[in-house]
Amino acid sequence: MVSTVKGALFPAEGGVRERILAFLQKAISQGCFDAVLIPVRAPGTDSFTYSLVRGESLLENAYPLPPVMSVQGAKAVSSLTGHGKGKKKIAAIVRPCEARATAELFKLGQVDLENIFLISLDCPGALPLADWAKDPQKTEEAFTEILKGKASESLRPVCRICDRFSATGAEDLHIGTLGAEKGGILLIPHSPKGEGILDCLGLTTEADISAWDAAVNSLTGQRKEQRQKFMEEFKSKTAGLDNLLDTFSQCINCHNCMRVCPICYCRQCFFDSDNMKFAFADYLNRAEMAGGLRLPPETLLFHIGRMLHMSLSCVSCGACEDACPTAIPVAQVFSLVGGQNQEEFDYVPGRSRDEPPPLRVYEEDEFEEVEQSCAGASAQQEAPNA
């Protein structure tokens, strides 16, 4: 996938976490950037949260790859820069899906990346938040095994079928750890800013990245297969209005999925607004017409509406599913619908920061088959009167 890409080797010892932190520490001490936005384990607790750190607290508490995704990294970047950039240069350490969500927010004017170095990592996946809340110790042990390269059924379902777990093109710099022997990490720049970090560290892009490349390609292939197989089966269970109603029947209308979604950036959700509140008589009418009305109303419509709004930018990060108190496979549905819609537009959210979102681009000759089928349908309708 990225075979033409070049990378540099940053020499470091220890586990993946130690090697990455050594790189970040060195880059800060060399003045490549001023601070790091990274998941940090609150001292003495089991909670991970994105924090701005440098120096000692970076080395002691930061976890570039925590076992869970408690806050989506793109949300952290947008809360920091959504209302304008700062003067300090910040390195944001994010998973590939978080980097892609950040790129989508960039296109929508919700982050300012001028002074942000977006750095992504090879992602082993994350475990369900619910598991972590129930038993942090057991979950952390499972994650340690995963970090060693073990495939695991305990990963979140969308992570198990994720085929975009490595460099995406949206980041300034990617940290390659897959397939790499101990002794360092690969630094793969994707922008002049990323190259600047290598210059700052005195590194050149002459490392042999073939082992990493091969490992990424092989796992991508496996995941693609798994994804296709999973989606075929999943589609048969969720497609159609009845199945969709079943899938979302447990929804308690808490809208948590919307609140944690990195792409849901509206100031107020349309579905929470007065636009979706109607007079008593309207509800009564609807109840009469349909033979009954579920209250609060619009539960499924909310999810369909969100799909309509989000699916082209959905990066399948899984935050929505983690946040669902009733274990609805929200992320899997979104991944299925998003994947199909994105394919229609040949669009991969976050693949590039310059690629405009499809709904902003008018192309005269796209979806001709839809036009033709509409024309055919209306011609048929008109035929009897003609």
Binding site: L108, G109, Y265
Partner: protein
């Protein structure tokens, strides 16, 4: 205040009455909430029908009106005016189209009645949510912006400029006159091009109602017929000029197809291969040779070959004036060098029109050779130029010449793309700006108030360009009458400051440049004077901040709810 809705169903002669059971409709509609009166009439659009509604509004103290009749394209404005006459805000009205969309397209009377009922219920439900939008009007601006200082732009400016109409003529180069200035002679009367254009330029510069802006570029044009906001950069002074006009004339002209891309013509490689424009330049006294036809070695040519249709195949069209001006070249050559041998290599001769045939025959009489040829190739051996070609019969032949003049195709000027994008005017697949209608709207563009004349539309002769200048000027004179008021769209977009997230999607989809971004508040803002109410922003806004007045979410919901009930 309680709503009091009046519902009027038109029989439209038999058009509606034949297919829709109006009594059943009225019986179903009358008891509905807020309906104060429901009645039928033979022909509501007639004077009698309009008076019937007006009186009924007063008699029943109505707050809203629904008319069930024909298409809003036909009579929406008629009935809105009736409301206004009765003292009701015209926006508090809704038309249900039960003729085109119901009676005319539904064969079964019962079904047609059901459908009409749904449409009328939807209109009743919707109209209760209408807001009384206030009419807005503004003074129409009679001034005109003409872009391009060639013959087309100059002539249009001359016709338009008047005491009550200022013309801004913007030319990107440092002088007026365009291509014509470089044509030493003009066909068919062999008048001097510079002589003709100098007179025209002088008359223009003497006209105090024209402001000529040379070395200037148009940066931005926003607005609509009667009200365009223009921004011009004066390059020499590095200054910006802002002004308003009511119409824009695009006379951006042409450029020649570059024959360098076709190596078989030897252009750029061989010394004495010229384009038509370079040959023209050689013939004017201010030109590089002082008006003398000379080879690079300083000697006059003994033989000249004129090659037609250079780039015609590549461009896919005939530039229609090359054959004619090449005959003019023959006259120019023979006048200066009576002994010179002139040969035309052509595939088709295009000399239409009443005066050209004689011009052609007279030119032949001067001893000019016309050779029908194909696959022409120009080569040089250091001593002279040799031209190989295929004859009409398919055989190979060759011709030696001291000088070659190529007649390249005419292309749109490089600015055509810039203006097409700035003004949302379509271009054809050759890059020329497209007229509103090839036959019926030849100088108007798809955008009201923007006109395209001369070679910006496609290859034209000088006289055709001037005809188009005057045609566009005529259209502008009749549309932009000083003192006329323009009624502005009231059903415009609005963007809620508290919902807008500043993603700028609306800026990308607005075809009228009516939305700007407020950097301090980080939200999008609508300019209601520029907004046409197309609704693109409302459809594209991902956060529900943009909405279109008169087509708000609750209004559409109320309508759909009843249609689908």
């Amino acid at each position: 205040m309680a709503k009091r809705i009046g519902v009027y169903v038109c029989e439209c002669g038999t058009n509606i009455a034949e297919k829709v059971n109006i009594d059943r409709v009225l019986a179903a509609v009358s008891p509905l909430k807020d309906v104060a009166v429901a009645e039928r009439h033979k022909l509501l659009c007639s004077g009698d029908g309009q008076e019937f509604i007006r009186q009924s509004i007063a008699e029943h103290g109505l707050t809203h009106v629904v008319v069930a009749a024909c298409s809003p394209k036909q009579h929406e404005v008629t009935f809105m005016n009736v409301c206004e006459k009765a003292g009701l805000n015209p926006q508090l009205f809704q038309l249900a189209n039960i003729r085109e969309q119901c009676a005319w397209v539904t064969s079964d009377r019962e079904e047609a009645t059901d459908k009409a009922l749904r449409q009328i219920r939807a209109a009743i439900s919707r109209v209760g949510y209408h807001a009384p939008l206030e009419n807005k009007e503004m003074q129409c601006n009679p001034d005109v912006l003409v872009i391009g200082g060639g013959i087309a732009g100059i002539k249009a400016s001359q016709v338009l400029a008047a005491p009550d109409r200022k013309v801004y003529l913007v030319e990107k180069t440092s002088s007026l006159g365009g291509k014509v200035k470089g044509f030493s002679k003009l066909f068919t009367n062999m008048e001097s091009g510079p002589g003709l254009i100098t007179k025209e330029i002088k008359s223009l510069l003497d006209n105090k109602y024209v402001e000529v802006l040379t070395e200037s570029e148009v940066e931005q044009i926003l607005g609509f017929l009667g009200n365009f906001e223009v921004k011009v950069i004066k390059k020499a002074e590095d200054a910006e000029l802002d002004f308003n006009v009511g119409a824009v004339v695009l006379a951006t002209g042409f450029e020649l197809f570059d024959p360098t891309g076709l190596p078989r013509y030897g252009y750029g490689k061989l010394d004495d291969v010229y384009t038509s424009l370079e040959f023209e330049e050689m013939n004017i006294p201010e030109g590089p040779t002082g008006g003398k036809i000379l080879l690079k070695n300083g000697k006059p040519p003994q033989s000249v070959a004129i090659i037609h249709c250079v780039g015609r195949e590549e461009k896919g069209y005939c530039s229609k004036v090359c054959c004619i001006y090449s005959l003019k070249f023959d006259r120019m050559l023979k006048a200066q060098l009576p002994q010179v041998k002139v040969s035309h290599l052509y595939s088709d001769l295009c000399i239409p029109g009443k005066s050209f045939q004689k011009f052609y025959e007279d030119t032949r009489g001067l001893g000019v050779e016309f050779v029908r040829s194909a696959k022409t190739e120009v080569a040089g051996d250091g001593k002279g130029i040799n031209i190989n070609y295929e004859t009409e019969g398919g055989g190979k032949s060759e011709l030696a010449a001291d000088m070659v003049i190529l007649l390249p195709a005419m292309e749109p000027a490089s600015d055509a793309g810039k203006f097409a994008e700035m003004l949302n005017i379509p271009r054809d697949n050759k890059g020329f700006l497209v007229e509103e209608h090839q036959l019926l709207g030849p100088v108007a563009s798809a955008v009201e108030g923007i006109f395209v004349i001369g070679c910006a539309r496609g290859p034209q002769s000088i006289s055709e360009s001037i005809v188009q200048s005057e045609a566009a000027a005529g259209k502008i004179l009749s549309a932009l009458v000083p003192g006329r008021k323009l009624e502005l769209e009231v059903r415009v977009s609005e963007i809620s400051a508290s919902f807008c997230t500043g993603c700028k999607t609306c800026l990308d989809v607005c075809p009228y440049g009516a939305i700007t971004f407020d950097e301090t508040r980080r939200i999008s803002v609508v300019n209601e004077v520029l907004c046409h109410g197309c609704g693109n922003c409302a459809a594209a806004c991902p956060s529900g901040a943009a909405s279109l007045k008169h087509f708000t979410f609750p209004q559409i919901y109320q309508e759909l709810k009843e249609v689908l009930r």
